[in-house]
Every structure is written in C-alpha cells, then in structure tokens.
Symmetry: C2
Subunit: 212 residues, 2 copies
Amino acid sequence: MGLKLYSYWRSTTSLRVRAVLNLKGFDYEIVPVNLLTGAQSGPAFSAINPSQSVPVLVLEDGTALTQSLAIIDYLDVLRPNPPLLHSDPLHRAQERAAAYAIAMDIHPVNNLKVLNYLRGPMDQPESEVIRYVHQWMHHGLEAFQRKIRPGTAFTFGERIGLADICLVSQLVNARRWAFDLTPFDRLCDIDARAVSNPSIAAAMPENLPDAA
Amino acid sequence: MGLKLYSYWRSTTSLRVRAVLNLKGFDYEIVPVNLLTGAQSGPAFSAINPSQSVPVLVLEDGTALTQSLAIIDYLDVLRPNPPLLHSDPLHRAQERAAAYAIAMDIHPVNNLKVLNYLRGPMDQPESEVIRYVHQWMHHGLEAFQRKIRPGTAFTFGERIGLADICLVSQLVNARRWAFDLTPFDRLCDIDARAVSNPSIAAAMPENLPDAA
C-alpha cells in the first residue's frame, strides 16, 4: 500500500512535506482533507489524527506521523539523499535556526485556528487580522534574512535544504495575504529558483489534485 | 572563555537550553538579559542577536546560535550522551512530534510579543488575554498527552528526553498563568519526576542567579 499523505492543497505545512517526499523520490499517495468543509473534524480523519490537523503521513504499517518538521526529519533519516541539512553540526544548527524562524515564529502565530480566534472570541475586523498577520511575517522574514548566507543559490548553499522548503511554503502564504515582499528580494530570488525545481513545483498548491 | 548562554530566568525557551547544558554536563556561563527592563533591545545585546530574543548560545569563537531547539540539536550532536532522542527513526519522529506540539503549537502563540500585541493594538482586556492563553495550552497539552507512551517514567521511556524538556518548560509557564492542570495528571507526574533530577532543578527559574 505504501505511504499515504493526508494533505490539504493550500496547507503550507502539507506543502513542506510534499516537497521533501518529491525531492527524495518517495512513492506516495495524497489523500486530500478538505479543511474548508471541515473534513478534518469528521470521524474518519479524527480516527487518524485526533488533533484534526494536516499533514499526517501514514506508513505502510498504519502508523500515523504528525508535525511537518518531525515527518521531514524522519524522511531525511530514512532516505538521506539528497540531504536537507549540512553534515557539519554548526552549519546544521544555523540551517535549523533559519527554518525555525519561519516554522516557529511566523507559521503558528498566523495559523488559521489563531486567526479564527481573533475574528470570533476577540471580535477583530478583517483589517486588524491582516495587520496582525503582516506584523509577524515582517518580523520573522527579517530574522530569516539575517540568518542566510550571502551569494549562494539557496539559503545555505547550492542545494535546496530545510530552510528553503520552509521559505517556499511561507511565501505562498505571504502572497495569499498580499504581503509586500519588496524588502525581501533575496528571499524572492531563492524562492523563484526553488520553485523552478520540478520536485518543488509538483508540491505547489496550484498543482495539487484537490486545488479549487 | 567557553560557552556563554544569554538567558532570562523566566524565559521558558532559555530553560530548555539550560536543562540540556546541565544534563550533558557542559561547562557554561549564564549572562542574564533582563527582558523586563528591555535589555534585549539595547545595543550590546542587539549586536549579539539582532532579533532581540533569548536564548542565545555564544560559542568559544564568538558564533551566536539562536532558536532553542536548534541549539539543543547542536548540543546533542556535540555530546551525544545522555541522548535526548531515541536512535530508532520512527520513535525519534514521534518524540519530535510531541516536542513540537508544545514548541510550535503552544509556545509561539502564547509568546510575550504576541500577548503584548493583543493587549496593545488589539486593545484586549487581561481577562481575554488569559482566556486566549489557556485555550492554546489546553489544546496543545491534550495533543501532547495523546502522543506519549503509557506507563513509562518519562514521556517516551525511562530517561529524560526532548519532549520532557519541552514539557517541564511549558508547565512552568502554565502554572504562572494559573492554568488548571487537573486534567493532565500524567503530565504533572512526569514533570515532578523530571524536576527532581538535579540537572533540571538547577535550570528552573527560581534557581537562577537573576531570579527576581
């Protein structure tokens, strides 16, 4: 039966996992979970992930793995080539720190659950929600930009790594929120180069079977 | 000169790094950064970390490492004993996923910067901020609880690991916010066992030289 990825086309954490599965040449099946119609809280998916979030990678024996970066670490150990992190421990820590500047400091704070809390219980108008979203994007992308290497094709060298995968996913989200990327031209350059790779292109939302 | 950890006694991400430095027997010096008086935005600390956040680990050659979990991965590679993660890739991914249920899904959303945004630009009264904080703690700790092993001394076995370190830090924060831990007795048990370890005890806020 092989690997099954429960994914939503627009979910940027699902995009991270799809990108790594493609880059490493894994054979997998995508099972779309429509977050818009609430499929994540239905009994079928709740049985797979009681936390009702995507992505979930289900292995051949039925084990369900959650948390995009934990899944990616697993895939990187299982199939080390191409590597997602440098082998030098210090370099590796710097790559992880850049990835976390997005995965910890932007994504969770701007997650749909949090935004719906601001809209609902906190009664914030959409204009305030947009200002909030942009604030954390700006802060996090500035931190990311300070961490990357100057003059390389990708954030840490000449190959696509973990930080690039987080960047590509974050910029999909940034564009969706009409965030001004003008001050981040080096990030846009890296993003364009990454997205021209067929493995990354195939993982992009618009190329997914469940894209609406 | 050795390792220097820029830390604030109450910062729970600093606590994670202190715990690992102690568990692995590293020799290091703590440099307190008083977040209450804004020392993080002063020129001295901004030169070390332009993102103006703790913890920062400064190595012998002056290299500054940021992001608590990236620093911890670095320390774990540098000195693999005692290990923070199981050697089996699948088990390892499950431990990371539990750690991330706290480090991604609770901590960033309840970070002081975000809360100050709710209090300031969003003009929320403290009662609403508390409700917001508790909501994400509840959601994240439930997810964490579902991921851990039944019947073990710590979350994934008989030794303190990455998930335990994230848990201890999160429960410090939960108690500070008077969050009701009654539904989480297994987590409180694990926490009590971890905190009775002298390496963890020495990392706790109240035992820090800069504790107020």
